[in-house]
């Protein structure tokens, strides 16, 4: 039997809340358990409410969990804000002075004077989170040795006094739990299988994936929630011989990408919606001039400055169509941290092979999410490099040659005999400005043919996730990080006796047509859950395949919950049974 535990720690930003959650996550990952976390960020710079939720499991998971088994609240505000999400059989560990709402549920409540222990007994308020960690580990029966070993590593570079101070705080927390709370709670931390797993955030996985794919130049501009990608690369890419440059804005970042890539180096930028909006014009240039580029958009609540620290999936149509004119680009959408790593590699391969911009859409929740990754997943196949020519072989170099494959060989600047002109103007095969109808048509067709070829490329085959029962009449199509709650929803519905099947394409431009058409042929209802107001994927599916869709949207700045998707599934199920009643008449 699968063993799952959902823990949430909530309090004030700056109190070390995140450290508690991350420590639990890192220890679990070392023991071979699966972890998915979700954290919220205060919009304020310092202070404000924050929380981290950690789901630990000995099975495969892709969502951070809906109802909380074990809630930790360090102040009254945190309790008021989070208590409603606690499972009715869950347990609460809170600061002793907190008031609880009146209710009848048999929840267990542990009160601990964390503030007093930290300030009076230890003499340092900043140790409070380690005291909490001690009490929590005792209640959940997490091996103390693993925590001590973790702290020893964490403070390896600090003095022994600091480590001793933290171990003391940990022990005081443990002692309190043993002496005053009766030792362990009924909630048990799953036991691990021993094989250490990797634990990283979506942003780290993207940066690592890019470095692994041979990224040589990165250009970016600070923006929440994508900044960590640039920050990681600023530290590590130079060591690998690469170059990171922070530009003065996003327009400059993507134009520098265009320059670097044209000059022959793999180039990338990362941003969020406002930045992608600014980059739109240059997306067209990259399409027109056929320059490989990778652009990561970590979506946040929009439009305009919107909700920088909240998640949303509302840039899909911008990623697909943003820019004037007909400007083809590929769009990828990872569903997990493992995907963030792998699809970044694929993004470079597609960009290089097809000489066009590739946009990767993640979102705030996925960017910031800590998740275990199977070490097998972070092995990349050999990278694809762009088709280059040995100039002079066929008597003069033609940059935009209209050949059968549609991919014209590239000559890098400085290649003798390969001198050529690259332009954002419409151009003929040589790159010279041409605006006659034949040239514009032929070149547009050439550029769009690449999307068709990407759809047929083995690199993009079998990318979609499938789950559920293939015979089910109710289908779910979703994208990006909503795959996690959708997978849990399918499982939940199955446990209620409702068969559902789901498909999650990881490439959204071009869509995997054959796979989707087969899926649509199998189902009667198509539910499309996503985090935007207008139902962007739903409208894309309707316009592309002329299928009716049931759009399920949410714009609350947090991910969809499986139960919200299940509600829609039940509605669909009811309409199916009404229909069959109509067809066969009411029995009895």
């Amino acid at each position: 039997m699968r063993h799952d535990l959902v823990i949430r720690v909530a309090g004030e930003s700056g109190e070390g809340i995140i450290t508690i959650g991350e420590t639990i996550a890192r220890i679990a990952a070392r023991e071979g358990l699966s972890i998915v976390t979700f954290r919220t960020f205060p919009a304020e710079i310092k202070g404000g409410a924050c929380m981290i939720q950690v789901r630990v499991s000995d099975g495969k998971i892709s969502y951070h969990g809906e109802k909380i088994d074990f809630l930790v609240c360090l102040n009254q505000d945190a309790l008021n804000e989070n208590y409603g999400d606690l499972h009715e059989l869950g347990a609460l560990l809170c600061e002793a002075e907190c008031d609880l709402p009146e209710e009848k549920s048999p929840r267990t409540v542990y009160r601990v004077p964390f503030e007093r222990i930290a300030v009076r007994e230890i003499g340092s308020r900043i140790s409070k989170n380690i005291v909490v960690l001690g009490t929590l580990s005792q209640l959940l029966d997490i091996p103390v040795k693993s925590i001590e070993a973790f702290l020893a590593e964490k403070f390896a570079k600090k003095s022994k006094a600091i480590l001793d101070h933290n171990i003391d705080a940990l022990q005081r927390g443990i002692r309190f739990a043993r002496e005053k709370l009766g030792g362990t709670s009924g909630f048990k931390y799953p036991s691990g299988k021993g094989d250490r797993r990797l634990l990283m955030t979506g942003n780290e996985a993207i940066a690592l994936g890019a470095a692994g794919a041979g990224l040589k130049t990165f250009f970016g501009y600070p923006i929440t929630p994508a900044s960590e990608i640039m920050e990681w690369l600023a530290v590590h890419l130079p060591k690998m011989g690469g170059k990171v440059l922070q530009t003065e804005d996003e327009i400059s970042a993507i134009c520098a990408v265009a320059g670097a890539s044209w000059a022959g180096a793999k180039a990338m930028t990362s941003t969020s919606g406002p930045g992608l909006s600014l980059m739109s014009e240059t997306l067209g240039l990259l399409s027109m001039a056929e320059i490989p580029a990778v652009i990561v958009d970590s979506q946040r609540g929009g439009p305009s400055t919107g909700m920088p620290t909240k998640t949303e999936q509302s840039d899909l149509l911008l990623a697909l169509y943003g820019s004037h004119g007909d400007s083809p680009r590929a769009v990828l959408a990872p569903t997990s941290v493992g995907d963030c790593f792998q699809l970044t590699g694929l993004a470079f391969d597609l960009a290089e092979k097809y000489q066009l911009p590739v946009i990767m859409l993640v979102d705030q929740a996925l960017s910031a999410r800590l998740e275990t990754v199977d070490p097998e997943l972070v092995k990349q196949p050999p990278a694809v490099t762009r088709l280059s020519v040995q100039p002079g072989a066929d008597g003069g170099y033609v940059r935009y040659r209209l050949n059968e494959s549609g991919i014209s060989p590239v000559a890098l600047p400085g290649t003798a005999g390969g001198e050529h002109m690259v332009t954002g103007m419409e151009h003929d095969e040589l790159g010279n400005f041409a605006c006659d109808e034949e040239t514009h048509t032929a070149m547009t067709v050439k550029r769009y043919r690449k999307l068709q070829m990407i759809g047929n490329d083995p690199l993009t085959r079998g990318l979609s996730l499938h789950f559920g029962d293939e015979k089910a009449e109710i289908g779910i199509v979703t994208w990006g990080s909503t795959a996690g709650p959708a997978e849990d929803a399918v499982r939940l519905a199955a446990s209620m006796g409702i068969a559902v099947q789901a498909i999650v394409p990881k490439i959204l431009n071009p869509l995997p047509h054959e796979e989707l058409k087969r899926f649509f042929a199998r189902v009667k209802h198509i539910i499309v859950p996503e985090l935007n107001f207008t139902g962007q994927l739903a409208s894309l599916l309707r316009s592309t395949y002329r299928v009716p869709t049931i759009s399920l949207t949410k714009i609350k700045g947090v991910p969809l919950e499986p139960s919200e998707i299940v509600d829609k599934i039940i509605e669909a199920q009811e309409s199916l049974s009404v229909r069959s009643e109509k067809r066969y008449g009411r029995a009895g």
Partner: protein
């Protein structure tokens, strides 16, 4: 290009040759109760820009002006607009990150059109643009310089805390040499920010600003007088405020005063102003603060952990000192005219 003229007098300056009469000193207004920002801001403990913004707004309100503020995305915008606005009776327009200068132009055009139609009287209003150093030196520079070049009336205040603090302390065009930020990390090979910062008053004067000034909340009289001058002088006026940031500078929250004093005495931050005489193609420069005692660059760097790496490297400290000295040499004629020995102002350091 313009000719450089120096004001021989050093210190707070109520006068401007661009104005028929001096502006009032803060004390001369008497006990008029004015608030700049209202309560409830969510700035960090020890934040300098809240105080600076407050003083600037107060100065304008003392003049009886209705402030129309265009605020660019940044720390100041975030901490004064969360849940509740702290802008009181100010009219505020939060625009996009790159657009503060352009929004000012829009406001000014509207004011002109509406006043032509007799709908408003322009004297009642002051157009104020506020942005951070990221929104000024980097993404907003094009809009800012274009606004200055158009010669339109208004005040642009840059709250310079020397990096993108709101998004996690990434370096900006105003980040000091050697500072450790998340995008200019201090490592074994590359030691923090390798670029030296740009200077807004230089950029603004090159674009044609009527008035430029630097200020700091510690010297609030100087700051408020400068804001009032900017409101009275015709054409684009640009003021840059030194904004202490404990979060990003990794300094203690209670050394606001000490850090600012060290910045001024080490000449990392120089209080001055420049007024443009368009007809004669001159800019008159006034030094508003004379360092009290010679302070080395190292002493300034000591209070801030963002410099903890570079402090250990003699070459880097020397380079930082050289940057400061080079910039300070601009004031040599003024110091000499006042018979100030080099030692007294410590500029041989």
């Amino acid at each position: 290009m313009f000719n450089i003229l120096y004001n021989r007098d050093i210190g707070i300056n109520l006068h401007s040759f661009l104005l028929p009469e001096p502006v009032k000193d803060v004390g001369e207004y008497g006990a008029i109760p004015t608030t700049g920002l209202t309560s409830g801001h969510q700035g960090c403990t020890g934040c300098g820009m809240v105080t600076g913004t407050n003083q600037a707004l107060r100065a304008l309100k003392l003049m009886g002006k209705h402030v129309v503020a265009s605020i660019g995305t940044g720390c100041n915008e975030v901490i004064t607009t969360q849940n509740t606005s702290c802008w009181g009776e100010t009219s505020v327009d939060h625009n996009n990150f790159p657009n503060t200068g352009a929004t000012l132009s829009g406001n000014i055009a509207a004011l002109k059109a509406l006043s032509r139609a007799g709908a408003v009287s322009p004297e009642r209003f002051v157009n104020l643009g506020i942005a951070g150093d990221g929104g000024t030196y980097d993404i907003g520079l094009q809009a800012l310089l274009a606004w200055i070049a158009r010669g339109e009336d208004g005040i642009y205040i840059c709250l310079n805390n020397q990096a993108y603090m709101n998004t996690g302390i990434q370096g900006s065009g105003a980040t000091p040499y050697g500072a450790n930020t998340s995008t200019t990390p201090f490592g074994k090979v590359v030691h923090g920010n390798q670029r030296s910062p740009q200077y807004l008053p230089d950029l603004a004067l090159a674009a044609g600003a009527s008035y430029v000034a630097t200020a700091c909340p510690l010297h609030h009289r100087d700051l408020m007088i400068k804001v009032q001058k900017a409101a009275a002088i015709e054409g684009p006026c640009v003021i840059e405020l030194y904004s202490v940031c404990p979060e990003g500078w990794k300094s203690e929250t209670d050394v606001f005063h000490e850090i600012t004093e060290l910045a001024l005495d080490s000449r990392f931050w120089v209080l001055y102003e420049g007024e443009r005489d368009r007809a004669g193609n001159n800019v008159l420069f006034t030094l508003n603060y004379l360092p009290k005692r010679p302070v080395s660059a190292l002493e300034y760097l000591n209070l801030q952990e963002r410099f903890s790496g570079m402090r250990q490297l003699g070459d880097m400290v020397e380079h930082a000192q050289a940057l400061v000295d080079a910039r300070w040499s601009f004031w040599k004629p003024v110091l000499e005219a006042n018979g100030l020995e080099r030692k007294e102002v410590g500029y041989e350091a």
